[in-house]
Symmetry: C2
Subunit: 336 residues, 2 copies
Amino acid sequence: MPTIRDVAREAGVSISTVSLVLRQPHRVSEGTRVRVQEVIKTLNFRPNGTARDLRVRKSGTIGVFLRNLSGPYYSELIGGIEQVATSLRLTPIVCGRSVDEEQGSRRLLRERRIDGAIVLDFGITLSELAEYSAPDLPIVVLNRTLPCPLASAHITVVKIDDDGGGYQAGKHFIDQGFLHPAVITGPVEAEASQARQRGFFRAYAEHGIASTGILVIHGDFTEEGGAEAMATILNLNLAIDAVFSANDQMALGVLQVLAKHNIRVEQIAVMGFDDISLARYVQPALTTVHQPMFEAGVTAMKLLGQAMMGEERIPPRTLSTSLVIRSSTPKKSSSE
Amino acid sequence: MPTIRDVAREAGVSISTVSLVLRQPHRVSEGTRVRVQEVIKTLNFRPNGTARDLRVRKSGTIGVFLRNLSGPYYSELIGGIEQVATSLRLTPIVCGRSVDEEQGSRRLLRERRIDGAIVLDFGITLSELAEYSAPDLPIVVLNRTLPCPLASAHITVVKIDDDGGGYQAGKHFIDQGFLHPAVITGPVEAEASQARQRGFFRAYAEHGIASTGILVIHGDFTEEGGAEAMATILNLNLAIDAVFSANDQMALGVLQVLAKHNIRVEQIAVMGFDDISLARYVQPALTTVHQPMFEAGVTAMKLLGQAMMGEERIPPRTLSTSLVIRSSTPKKSSSE
DNA sequence: ATAAGGAATCGAACCGTTTCGATTCCGAAT
DNA sequence: ATTCGGAATCGAAACGGTTCGATTCCTTAT
């Protein structure tokens, strides 16, 4: 692999001239410029990015850290990020959950191989992020709440209005006439599902139904977990007429259990959260709360861009959800 | 951000000693070792990866280049890659399709920021890859055929047996009694779909049915494309009893059109290819040919690992598909 | 007491760029 | 003829680590 030195020698100019040809061609006379460019072509010289990074102290690269790479859920998010990143001349590189402490996302952060990061993987704690973040390595965190005074001047939060989404869900249930719902929430450490549940309760509270009367059971955000939770609920033999699941995946499990017991959504309605693409396809199609992932990607990347330009203490953004009504929540026939 | 120099000064040792503490602790006496480690901790020193990369001429990083980040299809592949990569102490970073020539995957390749690559994005041509590949930057390409003599000593191919999969599909149709199939294939430039179609034809040929009697129509691998293709087929008003789609996505579109026209799979059976997770969920559940993506990831990463150890001209690998029979291909009732 | 050998530590070169300040060169202005 | 100014080019110092060979310092054998 030829270096800039080889090119310089071959073209009979100094190293700095070659560099100039590469970065600020207008500063070099036409004669030498074309000569150098020819040598570059014939030697197939490509400047070493690592060396450049070291010298200019940045990489033109940002990290996107996901929990796992699955689902069109993320692909939309990344689509949004990429759209903005391209216009900022930045290359996003994405990493899945880092199992190994020494590899993956944490390594990129620790070793400063990136100029910024967008973090969704909730396996990376806020205190870790606070430690890694710096003026030249700002971080945007998705879907988390920061302890009240911004932990670090270089961390920005973009979140979905989970509480509002939960409220929309509750409101919709009430509108359809479901007054005896049960809730399948996520793991306790998942802030998002807490908020969803809170909003859901609020809607019912406004309608005069106290949360104390609503059964809550914890799931683990997986399909199987949702199924188990639903089975547990059925065993209790309560008079419920609807189930709100804190994410779509679990709602899928709920639908399966219901189908197995020959219970129709007219008897027990089901609602999810997220609007994963599967939601549209299952039978009956799942009513759910849509998360604006593409918009989240765009917003996150824009804010990261600003932070990379030096802006500090960027205030958090909250994006609104929207209701997607499908067939799993049919209006309840008049009689209660 | 402190550098190794700061640590050295603070700890009263030379730079080389600090480096030694970091990389080969056993070579440093216990006393200085703990002292240096303490300074590292208090200064919160983290070695700069870029500087290290430059010196040792590698990054411990490999690129995974996808066409788009969507779909659990890829998440399995990446799962396989990550599993092996971790054991090799390598960090995989994934990039979507690079729109901009100056950004994304191409930049990582060109600027040698990675030590190896696994390429699925068929937007990157083989000749490009041949140009980028080198002893210290081997590449594994998925699902492509190389022009006969290996184009480069540092490119390895891992592919799915598309032809075999197509054959399995054809065989299954025949077994179920469908003797008048139509085929919805992919874009002409997609080698894979050609091979699938070829295998499919072979099965029928063995059963005495010539490919000349089988209608073929081109789709674009999307759901809408599949729907359009199916609509076209229906308009022709032919006496077909089954449709083989070169991928699941298009098959989904086919199912929708069929449903809209109130045609049941008992009249026109449908089969896809890929086994995306949706296939299990649609109504009726889609019979399809499963691609071993996880295994593909594992294989690709293993071979890349070998190539990175210096092995050259690694022969291509082909992985077998398997049939997943669901409800979209019910056995045809005796009468033809 | 001295030589030999091993452990601990160090100095300096090096990786491949960018960039700042200096130098050369040339034509125009005085 | 001399000075001046700008354009073109260059030399050398970074950037922040790793690593090789040299040096220092002990301990042990002679």
